[in-house]
Symmetry: C2
Subunit: 210 residues, 2 copies
């Protein structure tokens, strides 16, 4: 592979190398713990060349958030499709879809879940925005359910954000048991229980203030 290619392609390739190196380093460290110098070293360029691609490390962090958010939305779309094709219980389908996508994009999910609260100001804020956006998307899906037809928007968002938080907790559990199929099954079972418990409360809910 990798003939010279065009100028823009070369630049894009380096940019990717920077992002990939960062994601790789983020396996054992938090975002605040990685330095511009080692990211560039991993990408095979000299430190000062970093600025041809990002204005700062925070800037790179924002790029990672956007990229990870894209993965998140793809996961939601996949879950929608899987649900539509199965006409069974949503919960197992959702958990299975999540598991598969976490395995396929571990770095993205790890980044989001870990830096959600503990990151740099800028990065944490960006993640919080993306997650709220994601929860809104989920809320739209939830609104289609009969039991949720007459819920207020506030309550619907409360539910969606609760589900997102539970899911992100599951993501971290999944990342902790990588390679242990039995443990992974246990994590999935727990995740389903959490969602089922919440789901059982839904029909009992008296929504206020539409």
């Amino acid at each position: 592979m990798t003939e010279p290619a065009t100028r823009n392609e070369r630049k894009e390739r380096t940019r990717r190398a920077l992002l990939d190196t960062a994601l790789e380093l983020l396996t054992d460290r938090g975002f605040a713990g990685l330095s511009l110098r080692e990211v560039t070293k991993g990408a095979g360029i000299v430190p000062t060349a970093f600025y041809r691609h990002f204005a700062s490390m925070d800037d790179l962090g924002i790029a990672l958030v956007e990229e990870s958010a894209r993965t998140l939305h793809e996961t939601l779309r996949a879950a929608r499709r899987a649900h539509a094709a199965s006409d069974g219980d949503v919960i197992p389908v959702a958990v299975r879809t999540l598991t598969e996508h976490v395995r396929a994009h571990e770095a993205h999910f790890r980044f989001l879940a870990r830096q959600r609260y503990g990151g740099t100001d800028e990065v944490t804020r960006a993640i919080s925005v993306e997650l709220r956006l994601f929860a809104s998307g989920l809320a739209v899906d939830l609104a289609r359910y009969d039991y949720l037809r007459d819920w207020s928007n506030d309550d619907l968002h409360m539910l969606a954000e609760l589900v997102v938080t539970v899911m992100l907790g599951t993501v971290l559990d999944l990342l902790d048991v990588r390679g242990d199929g039995e443990a992974e099954a246990r994590v999935a079972a727990t995740a389903e229980k959490r969602l089922r418990l919440i789901g059982l409360g839904v029909p009992q809910w008296r929504s206020t203030e539409t």
Copy 2:
């Protein structure tokens, strides 16, 4: 204040200064982001004297976890007392107790909630242990409720950990709205909704495997 005092008292005072400086610096940064040197500077001693009190920064982190965990357990005890004295709905009492204790120990709660996932390996592990312990304590309380009498231990822990996660989310929401009483009331209302929704599912639950 502060006559010389005894030798041990002086040492203890410096140790506290180190912990307090760390907690203060943790307001704007993650634990990984603070350095031994600035902690000692804030405490008014020279960097090398740090080692008279802690073997490493991670060691100091562990001390912070233990201290914060103590605050957490005090909060649970206070909630128990408040509940026993009120004979009303648990949820508003629990949320109010939590709010008060968060305000009284912001640094501890911020530390726990932020570093729960995003911290150093050692610190994150220690927090995870303490939170599991805390959830177990909560599970014992929950076991007294009629609806939960015949739940399996597994399911009880699942519920307790779900409640802990929800509460920690609320903690971070509370820390975000410091000083805005109206916003704080909104956060408390949302927290109550989350718990109420989960609580509504409980009587519907069919627990498996005792």
